[in-house]
Amino acid sequence: MNFEFTEDQIALRDAAREAISRHRTEPVPGTAPHDGELWKALAELGGLGLPFPEEAGGMGAGPVEAMVVALELGRAGVRTAYSETLTAAAMLGDDELFGAAVEGSRVVVPALFEPMRAWSPTPVDVRADGDALTGVREPVPYAAAAPAVVTTAATADGVGIFAIDNPTFTGARLDLAGVSARRVDGDEVLVQRAINLGTLLLSAEALGAMESALHLTVEYLKSRKQFGVPLMKFQTLTQRAADMYTSLELARSAVYYLAMTLAIRPDDAIGVSRTKVIVGKSGRHIGQEAIQLHGGIGMTAEYAVGHHTARLTEIEHTYGDTRYHLSRLARGVSEYGGLDLVS
């Protein structure tokens, strides 16, 4: 067991932090815009190919390294298609879009949500007959950036993966009827593996957002005065900041551990669900308390903290929320007795 970053991982973290801060723009409410400059910087860093083998065109690192980058994005409060692109790339196998995705020459995103349907990793109303798809994906992330898309569809033999080079969106909606799609090698197992990676990256981003939300809150309590004394003299606030720290460190342990787990067991869906639950509970707690302890200023778009809360909320609702993952875990709890985390 070793939870510490290696020297290489620390160097990667510092490089990512530097690149992000150089290209960072102020966050805005609502749908995230795509930032080409930042994207280029992340691509130049090799960040988009980190977990993929060198022979396939990746960097030959692993999920731990990708986590390091996602953590920095979350900490900086920068919203990008990072987790989306890596999730998409993980589904692309040897499709030609893979290279474009990890080089950053195209924005490639997964289209995995069905409108007005709770999260499901497998397609329900999206179907394929050969390469002909029917159904709707919505919302598709970064649709305004005209991305290429990887989607899934129910086929006669299970789940198929499809690449779409130049889809046409209506807002964030993608009607699949009549689009030109190309079937990609791979099945449900590959889809779940990609979602596992994506969930890790979102969780890491959430961890970074929590870190910054707590940091901002602590600084605010130190500097801001009310009734003539610094807010940090109000024990009811500082004790709540302590609980936020507790939530943060619990989430950190879980995220680091999931990265290590996926490095050796990329199909560990149970581990992913558990991490999503831990991160979901911590994220909601920290996000809500960070605003509350800031008071009114925490509600404003000019100030960073509320954007972290918004991003934590978005992540909670991506790839299954706490309740979804608890239900998934609940179905298995009778199948084993005690937990074993070290084997």
Binding site: P115, P139, T236, G296, G298, H307
Partner: protein
């Protein structure tokens, strides 16, 4: 002890329900239901219909449009209004400056301001908070210096809700910086928003909406007859204003309607072969929120029914605290129900996602304010522990 409504109150309830569900335009009520932002014109249409029906300011003194209702009737009125997705009469007019002028203003001031306040011909906004005074309102720094028969006002206000629509602002200003206690040197002034030297800067909130503003005063000259009541008594008027509402503190009708909507939403979001509402964990959460709401609403009713014009029941101290918590719990739940469909906030005509789901996250984020504004939950707990439990911190 007696459960249920008297026949008169039942009749009253039917009338209110009839009015709110038929007289207020459907398009406005649909927007409220979906959590979409209302335009100024929406507010005005709705307010004026209520005003014409004599229902905009029923709690004012009878001579200025009041109804002499019991607290229970007022509860029924608010409940039916909220259940019907009707936006309340503008609170700054109906619940804040109106009652203050009616209670403390001169006869001239009443005659000048109360009728247009009731009819929304004047749109009021509030100038209390300042950048350096949050919960500690009495530390405010905006000054007003008497110069002849005018006050000269300098300073800055913030968190001025809907100030962008406002014709007038009622502002707390410091008229006696030398007063022994901070609270004793404060006055309340009525200032037109188009007076020279008044400027307004919008503040964008994290939900992307523009709902609050900063207001700057740069040598603004205000005629002395726009002072409310007496000089240096503004703190008393502000306390009256903030403590004026006994019944409407917890928006139980609003929560009830949202929770009923949450059930519809959970029945509309597909999950597996059925819908989210079929999930026993989701259904149990709905049941729990209903229980939480029942406990709150019964407390509202208890307080309303037990008050006899005198001191309110001490349990009224929990209503703001618990009301904001429960509002937030329900909106959090609705965002969870929306799930991935909540990820795009943009209302698009051809979207396959319902408006409520697009709005779920911004509305959830917006209502984090409920536990901050108007006396934060920490202040509410302080009021309970000090005022009710006698724990002198």
């Amino acid at each position: 002890m007696q459960r249920g409504l008297s026949p008169e109150d039942e009749q009253f309830r039917s009338e209110m329900r009839e009015f709110f569900t038929t007289a207020i335009p459907q398009d406005i009520r649909d927007k409220v239901a979906a959590g979409t932002e209302l335009s100024k014109e929406d507010f005005e249409r709705s307010h004026r219909i209520m005003h014409e029906a004599g229902l905009a300011v029923p709690h004012w003194p009878a001579e200025w449009g009041g109804k002499n209702w019991s607290d229970l009737q007022r509860y029924i009125y608010l409940d039916e209004m909220q259940l019907a997705n009707v936006p309340a009469p503008l609170a700054f007019n109906a619940n804040m400056i109106g009652p203050v002028i009616a209670t403390f203003g001169s006869q001239t001031m009443k005659e000048r301001f109360l009728p247009p306040t009731a009819s929304l011909d004047i749109w009021w906004c509030q100038g209390f908070s300042e950048p350096e005074s949050g919960s500690d309102l009495a530390s405010l720094r905006t000054t007003a210096v008497l110069d002849g028969d005018e006050y000269v006002v300098n300073g800055q206000k913030t968190w001025t809700t809907l100030g962008q629509h406002a014709d007038w602002i009622f502002a707390l200003v410091r008229t006696n910086p030398a007063a022994e206690r901070q609270q004793q040197g404060i006055s309340m002034l009525l200032i037109p928003m188009d007076a020279p030297g008044v400027t307004l800067r919008p503040i964008q909130l994290i939900d992307g909406g523009h709902e609050v503003n900063e207001v700057f005063f740069d040598n603004v000259r205000v005629p002395a007859d726009q002072l409310v009541g007496e000089e240096n008594r503004g703190w008393d008027y502000a306390k009256f204003l903030l403590g004026n509402e006994r019944v409407g503190v917890a928006p139980t009708g609003w929560i009830k309607r949202k929770l009923a909507a949450a059930k519809e939403y959970a029945a509309a979001v597909a999950s597996g072969d059925g819908h989210l509402i079929d999930d026993p964990v989701i259904a149990a959460r709905i049941a729990e929120l209903e229980c939480d709401l029942i406990a709150l609403e019964l407390t509202v009713l208890r307080v309303a029914a037990n008050s006899h014009g005198g001191k309110p029941d001490p349990a009224s101290s929990i209503l703001k605290l618990r009301g904001s918590e429960l509002q937030q719990d329900v909106l959090e739940f609705i965002a969870d129900i929306a799930g991935p469909s909540s990820l795009s906030w943009d209302l698009e005509a051809e979207s396959a996602i319902a408006d409520w789901a697009h709005n779920a996250t911004p509305v959830y984020l917006n209502f984090r304010k409920a536990s901050i504004y108007g006396g934060s939950n920490e202040v509410q707990r302080q009021v309970i522990s000090t005022g009710i439990l006698g724990l002198k911190g």
